[in-house]
Each structure stands twice: as C-alpha cells, then as structure tokens.
Symmetry: C2
Subunit: 175 residues, 2 copies
Amino acid sequence: MKRIIFLLIVVVALAGIIAATAATPGGADEAAASIAQGKLPAGYRDWRLISVAREEGTLDDIRAILGNDVAIKAYREGKPPFPEGTIIARIAWSYDASDENNKVFGKAQSFVAGHPKNGVQSMVKDSKKYASTGGWGYSQFDEGKPLTDAAMLQSCYDCHALIKDRDYVFTRYAP
Amino acid sequence: MKRIIFLLIVVVALAGIIAATAATPGGADEAAASIAQGKLPAGYRDWRLISVAREEGTLDDIRAILGNDVAIKAYREGKPPFPEGTIIARIAWSYDASDENNKVFGKAQSFVAGHPKNGVQSMVKDSKKYASTGGWGYSQFDEGKPLTDAAMLQSCYDCHALIKDRDYVFTRYAP
C-alpha cells in the first residue's frame, strides 16, 4: 500500500510540474494554430527577445524580434535549420526622438519606441503546411486583424526567399 | 485511507506546480541578491521586453530594456511607484548597418544589433537598502564583471534623480 501511495504521489507531482510548465507562454502548437486561424497568439508579447533593429526609409521604425520557446532554443543552439514549431514575431514602433530624455541628458541623442507601427509580423515553421513558401508561414496583424491580401503575404516570402541559405530568417540572435 | 491518499495527491500536485512556477526566470529576491553580490542574475536575458531605444552620441548603441516579473506587472498596471523587488535591466549592442539586409532590400535602410556594448545596467527597487539613492540600487556589468567605481555608480543616480517624478525610470512600456 505504501508503495502505491508513493507511486501515486510521484506521478501526480510530475503531472503538476508538466502542467505548470506547459502553461508558460509560447506553447508552440497553440500559438501556431492561433496564427493560422487569423488570431494573434495569446502571450506573444511575453516571448523572449531575439534581437532589436531599426529600419529607416518607408518603414521608419524601431523593432524587436521575439521568439517562442522553440525559436529561442534553436537560436541559442545555433544549428539551422529551425525546427518545426518555431515562431518568430516582429513587433515595431514609431522611431521617436525623446524630448524628455534629451532634456535630461542635455543632448539630442535619444530615440525611443513610440506608437505601435507596421503591424505584428510572424513566421511559423511548419514544413508540410507551408511547403510552398519554404516551410514558413508568413502573417501580419494590423491592430490585431490579420492581413489577408494574398499578394502582400506572397511578398513576405519573395523577400525572405533571397536569404534561403539562412533558412529564410533575417534576424540573428543578439547575446 | 482513501481520503488521506487523495489529500496527499492534492498537496503534492500543488507543491509540484509551485516548484515549477518558482523555477521560471525572474525570481525577484534571488536576482536582486545576485546583483547585490556583484553577479549578473541567472536568466536576466530571458526577462520580458519593456521597450527598445537608440542612443546616438558617445553611447552610440541600440538597446533593449527588460524587466523581471515584478517590473512587467507594474508597467502593465501602469501605477507608479514601482513595487519592491522591481528590476529593470538595460542591455545594449553596437548599432550596425546591416550590409546583408540592405543587399536584399536593395536599399541602405537596415540597422541591427551588433556586438554587446556599454555593459548590462540594472536598477533594483529596494526602498530600505537603497534609501540614499531614491530607493533604487544601480549597477553595471561589463563583460559580466561589476562596475565598482563609486563615482560612476553615483552618476547613475544623479542622472536618474532628474526624473524623480517618474520614480527615477526613463523607459516607458512599449505595447
């Protein structure tokens, strides 16, 4: 009887740990399904940071590239290609001179993230589902609504296809 | 007997969940203690993103501001002052024109994070311990080693003191 109780305790404790772990943000399948259904995945804003960048020109933004757990693990291990379930999300904001910071510094040197801009873009790795676009599904959400213009979504792939040798991914991990 | 087994199962499952939750990055007390001991806290690079920025001038970097769980919760609730245990970390990299991106775009417009630069800086909220510097402890780690120059650390406070009305914090949350 004692053995049975002990085994039960171990099993349930493990189940508890697994349940708690699975509840952390970045559940790959759930987020990928959400994007495929035209919904921003819950908790994407909690994903860990891959890197940051600034685009001048018509984009004119400052941006952060976030990754789900699969993406972060793959980046840190540094072995392309990215595994199934990788999701890379790009969020961006207006590139605003910070008058309040500059005033404190006594110099015009500080630029900060202003209002959200250029939508939330994502790449989901699913080699079967997105075989026709290099194994990645591309999406964009503007104010939470999915971009559905096929030509514009195709243009994501057309550009990323130019870096096929890096598994279609522009962003490198910033340590 | 069945009741005892059931209770044991419940207790152990809860313990498992608590253990798994506590193991997530951002344990406030542990990280604050680590910083106070002159060590970069384990897992700070996994903290969630508060915002991004670009500093020109002598700093000449692109940066990300990350927060532990206490910081993120406080930012999202938007009610200053920040609670005890808040930690805000600033990481930065060289601001590099991306030749590889520009080549693909056919335009010189892309700047990315290069090598780590200007250290890892942090602010830890502990109103008692850091009462003499507005309730925040300031630190900087250069290649993992703590800056110990008292005058330089004092200069952190001197600058942040100019925005006392925002609880000494420059960075605003980027949604």
